[in-house]
């Protein structure tokens, strides 16, 4: 009678994260700072995306020691990243007891053709997407949460904005279609028909949709909430800033009160330097993480 790993408990777990900030951390100390600041979850990593970018080479799942260290340090949920299509990394993270797996383009893909069949797992997955077609394909594979890809590790919000705007406008378009137009739209988007039908009927994605990939300031976080994000992932932004504790708290508050501009002004004061950031047009195509996966 007791059922684990159902769609409802996997998607429901993400529903509980809504309105919150999920922070990248690389050790127990950072995880505690994140929890103390009001993060709803932490993402345990070996290196934040900006450092992965700088280091080059192949980026893989974090050392299980780091995942365990972070898990033991906090009471909030712990997420971790597996390479796209890496069945064994995902199984290892599930065995370690992480609460959510990010099948992530921030790591070097293990499979350039197939993503994981996420329905096979008890643990839920979050996946990146640039548009509704990509989001629907991931949901079709069993993703329980979606995030915009943005361009990770750049501190530049422009790609996350592009992806969120694209998804929201495509959702509106599908919601306004008649059912006889839907199969053609499914073909055009490369989206599973059933997922589109569900979106048409409810007017929204069937799973929670967070923003990720370039959030570097409290104002960036609030911007993504205004564009319709259910919450925000902050990767390199927090622990690459001058004062991570203050910065983390400011991002959490700006996400809650994203329409209170006086408050965002106050909490943006004296935060010190945010991460330097990268202009997207200076990135070689091979260095654009968002191109990974399909």
């Amino acid at each position: 009678m007791k059922q684990t790993g159902t769609d409802r408990v996997k998607r429901g777990m993400a529903e509980m994260q809504k309105g919150g900030v999920i922070m990248d951390v690389v050790n127990a100390e950072q995880a505690k700072i994140a929890e103390e600041a009001g993060a709803v979850a932490v993402m345990a990593l070996e290196r934040v995306p900006a450092d992965i970018r700088a280091a080059g080479g192949v980026a893989r799942m974090a050392d299980p020691t780091i995942v365990e260290e972070v898990t033991n340090a906090v009471s909030i949920p712990v997420m971790a990243k597996a390479r796209i299509g890496h069945i064994v990394e995902a199984r290892v993270l599930e065995a370690l007891g992480v609460d959510y797996i990010d099948e992530s383009e921030v790591l070097t893909p293990a499979d350039e053709v197939y993503h994981l069949n996420k329905r096979d797992y008890t643990v839920p997955f979050v996946c990146g997407a640039r548009d509704l077609g990509e989001a629907s394909r991931r949901i079709g594979e069993g993703a329980s949460m979606i995030r915009t890809k943005g361009e990770p590790g750049t501190g530049n919000i422009v790609e996350a904005v592009r992806h969120m705007r694209m998804m929201q406008s495509q959702i509106k378009k599908v919601a306004g279609m008649s059912e006889d137009e839907l199969m053609t739209e499914a073909k055009n988007l490369g989206a599973p028909y059933d997922v589109l039908l569900e979106i048409k009927r409810s007017g929204k994605l069937p799973v929670v949709n967070f923003a990720a990939g370039g959030v570097a300031t409290p104002a960036d976080a609030a911007l993504m909430m205004q564009l319709g994000a259910d919450g925000v992932f902050v990767g390199s932004g927090i622990f690459k800033s001058d004062n991570p504790e203050k910065f983390a708290r400011a991002v959490v508050e700006a996400t809650t009160h994203y329409e209170d501009y006086q408050l965002i002004a106050d909490l943006s004061k004296g935060l010190g330097t945010a991460m330097k950031g990268i202009e997207i047009s200076t990135l070689e195509k091979a260095d654009r993480m968002q191109e990974r996966g399909w």
């Binding site: 429901g12 777990m13 529903e15 709803v40 007891g97």
Partner: protein, 193 residues
């Protein structure tokens, strides 16, 4: 018209709002303490209790919420919301401490242990669908609180006068009986006042 607030600092606010709207009441998403004025009841949604507590402190909600409870206004907490209401939390300091019970966080384990199961809930029905997500349990209740549901020998729902708490998520199902029960509590409380 009955005005019911849902504390909207973080978590599954919309789901509670939709469940309450089905009971034909006016629902307010509460982001500021002054919005508590004029409310007849308040829901603490599921989410992350540590996050909600930090924002409760940051925005001066702590005393207004205590006062709201002391005035005898009905309150309903699910999962993290129940943790906020409990007088005692195993292994850490309590938050609002308005309801006479001890809770234990993440008592069933991590996310992979999250589950769905049928429940009997006194006053609601014998066929309630329990959705437990990294759920707490109610370890014990004080003499004035009444256990209304157990799962596998653990307390998962309780009522103490105008306070209602459960460790599962009725807001994630289409069964709105728990919310209707809470709205009835508010109606009776208003008649008694």
């Amino acid at each position: 018209m009955i005005n019911i607030g849902v504390l909207a600092l973080q978590g599954a606010v919309r789901e509670h709002a939709e469940a309450l709207q089905a009971a034909d009441v006016n629902v307010i998403a509460v982001k500021r303490p002054e919005q508590l004025d004029g409310l007849h009841g308040l829901v603490f949604p599921g989410g992350e209790s540590t996050t909600m507590r930090r924002l409760i402190d940051k925005y001066g909600f702590f005393e207004p919420l205590k006062k709201f409870s002391e005035q005898g206004n009905p309150m309903f907490g699910t999962c993290a919301g129940a943790i906020l209401m409990a007088k005692e939390i195993v292994g850490q300091e309590p938050h609002l401490g308005v309801m006479d019970m001890t809770v234990q966080r993440n008592a069933f384990g991590r996310q992979r242990e999250s589950f769905e199961a049928p429940l009997k809930v006194q006053g609601i029905g014998e066929d309630v669908h329990g959705v437990f997500i990294r759920a707490p349990i109610i370890v014990s209740t004080g003499p004035s609180a009444e256990v209304i549901s157990e799962y596998d020998g653990e307390i998962v729902a309780a009522r103490q006068g105008n306070f209602l708490a459960c460790s599962y998520h009725p807001e994630l199902t289409d069964d709105h009986r728990m919310h209707q029960y809470f709205v009835e509590m508010i109606r009776k409380n208003r008649l008694a006042a």
